[in-house]
Amino acid sequence: MTTVSLVPVAVVLPLIGFLVNGLAGRLLKREALIGAIGSATVGAGFIIGCLLLRELLSLPADHRTFGVTLYSWIAAGGLHTSVAYQVDPLSVTMLLIVTGVGFLIHLYAIGYMHGDPGFWRFFAYLNLFVFAMLNLVMADNFLLLFLGWEGVGLCSYLLIGFWYNRTFESGTTGDAAKKAFIVNRVGDFGFLIGMFLIFSTFGSLQFQTVFGLAERMPVGAPVIVAITLALFIGATGKSAQIPLFVWLPDAMAGPTPVSALIHAATMVTAGVYMVARCSLLYALAPVSLHVVAAVGACTALLAATIGLVQNDIKKVLAYSTISQLGYMFLALGVGAFSAALFHVMTHAFFKALLFLGAGAVIHAMHDEQNIQKMGGLKSVMPVTYWTFVAGAVAIAGIFPFSGFFSKDEILWQAFAGGHWVLWLMGLAGAGLTAFYMFRLVTLTFDGETRWTHGVHPHEAPKIMTVPLMALAALSVVGGIAGIPASLGGGNAMEHWLEPVFQPAMDRLGAHAGHGEATEYLLMAVSLGVALSGIFLARYWYLKRNDIPASLSTAFPRGYTLLMRKYYVDEIYDAVIVRPVARGSEKLLWRIVDVGIIDWSVNAIARITGVIGRTMRLVQTGVTQSYAFIFVLGVVAILGWILAH
């Protein structure tokens, strides 16, 4: 199949973009050219993705998996790893999301980053990110996936700290970047352990081989449980779940297109993708599935409550992202893998849209991010307003916007699987989502203007609004891909991904049937909850401004608890960061490092130096003595041989 051979091209093009912009960007000077290179390399990947989609659709469902091996990468002992890509419905879906949304964000960034002295650097990083992300989703083995996994982590670090000379909260953007990197490293440790376990269990890191061997394992095998839990730790790091979600809100220190691309649409879904890719392993470990579901549901609810009170426009969106990622893990945990992927897709549309909209607002407000100082922007920025509302309605889950279908699918699957507690948590989260999103919309765009004089908000330029409109359109209609059967749709998404998840689904078994009536009822309930959330937000923040204020004074503790994000950062700081820092200073640095290691290293170095200076004295420069040593060597060797 010739189209499949284009996959490496799609992967490598952003790398070329990175090299061109990174090496020659300073010389290219012209922003249009740099932006065009950056965007075109990603856009080409999207076109290739579309071709692949068409090609795969023309084939029967169980013949849609292809491998493309570029070259043998590492051959060491029993480990044979190739740089090879796997083309199947799952990876093509991710390819389309990454390049499609990525392309729009690149376009937007041309306008957003206009005039920034680091323009070329920014696009180089973005392209490098896309390259790493494509390796992550297209890889046919764990090692290449891990390479992409680390690569996106690195790019995230570079991009969060992009404005390295700005302050962020109490520190600098560099602190935020470091926090992201270090928290991610904790997760990566889990991923590495999982990878080692996989290699020692199956003797391979290639997906097909590993899953092929895993099929013969019994359900609940301890080693599979260990592997899946270790991998999940990795996923909680990258996808910002409890307990490793703390980095994502701080990641908002980066430029807004970065927040949109990395911290909303693509990178954070890497954990979801990875769990989905390993669906078979998880299906073999019901315990791990329960853990995944529980962590997902708790994260969804917890992050949503924090989002209720935040005043930074990007912070609200960040917690909303964490919450939505929680839904995805909830879906994975109840075995609704395709629903999770569906939500990945719709979430990519509306969350990228919301972030880009927020970026337009921040741009217009001259880097003001506090929504309490906004208001009344509706009339000034109509395009941004309407697209933003479209995104908000979609994320709130209002029929027939895309978010409704994907979120409802997840809730339905949770309920149908008998996990009614999880369902209830999800439902509560949905209500909260609707509330905080419309709190955000209302405070930002409606009501009276609260900004100071001297600020002249203006609509964003075309290059920024066009991507907004495109994403808004996708947010509105994106749900078509997954209209459930009960609403007369074909749930195309589920059928499309079916071949990938079939082995896992076989092991999970079918759900107990609930009639369509139950499904309709649940839809109505969740719709009602969402609508009441919206209504409450509109009412409170437009008409009765005093209610939120009096609530916060009536329950000061509760309010502060939410405002300070459940003190998670403080707890981590007190329980982990400070003890480690103090321990490493007192014990590791002063005693172990300076006292023992440095001393012994210095001693060894000094001894080696002395030996070296002594031994070089043998080198007299006299040829006769060289010949003499030569003969001694001959005598020693012959003596040794004759003695044995």
Partner: protein
Amino acid sequence: MNIPVTPGDLLAIGPISVMFAGALVVLLAESIFRNGEAWNRWLALAGFLAAGTVAFLNTGWSGVAFGGTVATGGFANYCAIVYASAGALSVLLSTDYLRKTGIAFGEYYALLMIAVLGMMLMGAALDLVVFFLGLETMSIAFYVLAAFARSQGTSNESGLKYFLLGAFATGFLLYGIALVYGTTGTTSIPLIRDKAPSLIGTPVFTIGLALILIGLLFKIAAVPFHMWAPDVYEGAPTPVSGFMATGGKAAAFAAFLVLFRPEVLGGEKGLRDVIAVVAAASMIFGNVVAIAQSSIKRMLAYSSIAHAGYILVGVVAANATGANGVLFYLMAYTVMNIGAFGVLAMVENGAGENLHFEDYAGLSAQAPVLSLMMALFMFSLAGVPPFAGFFGKYYVFAGAIQAGYTWLAIVGVLMSVVSAYYYLRLVVMMYFTAASASPRRVGKSSAGLLALGIAVAALVYLGLFPSTIIDVTSRFF
């Protein structure tokens, strides 16, 4: 005995024939044209490239020529490619150096080509006599090259020392060949290999092998036959030192693999242990003494002793992984060490100065490109991934562990750590130390920069795609 020899044999040993014809042409051009040196530069470069190309085209196919005394294609051609690249890089790096030291004579290139011719013969030899012929052809050219800067005392000293000790070592080698011939009745290496199992334990045969071994150990500068190396490498013109330390070593190691093929050496436990001890001694001695050096050129000379030790580890392993590792290492070592000596040659001034660590202080500000390349060569020599040097070490150590010589691999790894000290010391000098008051004159040679660029590219390529080489070499064992 009737040896069927046909003109086809000359075609079969294509790279050797090309090298030979090239050397003759270069020698004549030198005497005929008024400005022979300028002609020879290009002629020699073309010769090396042609030989390398011919070798490359025939790597897949392998056979024998001249009645089974010379191997063609395959292994022999792989070696030929390594030598031809070493030669080509040396030509590019030499031209400017020869001019600024005032020794721009055309014979230089002829000698380079004759040395490469000898190396190729060694790599292709299937007969002890041919092997010896190649060895001497190479060595004599080296003796002259080492003394090429004839107005400098150090260079003369270098050539004379190398010649005296080389002749001394050759005596042992020849004696070994005689003893082996005496016990087996043949000089054909495959025939000796066939007879070897029945002769294991025969003292005269083993001593013969040991003496041949000693001759080779001398050529690769392994402890305790290394004494010549620091003096010779230091005194010889810098590009020549780089060429001798890489090409000459590679040729001796190729002969190692042919004479002591894994299946032969595997049976000779005593010899293997001897080589293991020599390897360990070389790694320890080379690295430890290199620390104490103040001249970079001399440091590189000791480091080349250490690298001989690393590569010997792959020989000791006597298995496919080790042998592949040796061949990979040779390729990697050739590019990175010629590169390091090349930078040295460019920074050195005409009077043999600017060779010390202090002279490199703050070089990165003055010559950023050159410093970056030198840093990469140093990283690779130290065995930092993802450069070629790392995978070379990785494969030879992996081979040793497979063969049960874990202690040797441990020594190797520990000594790599020691080596990082003096390699990185240079990087620290270039990047983190303030420049001295008087500015250096750093040579600017586009040919030299081209060669260094190629070496860096090869270094990175080999580090990223080590399997391209391993795939080829794994067919030889």
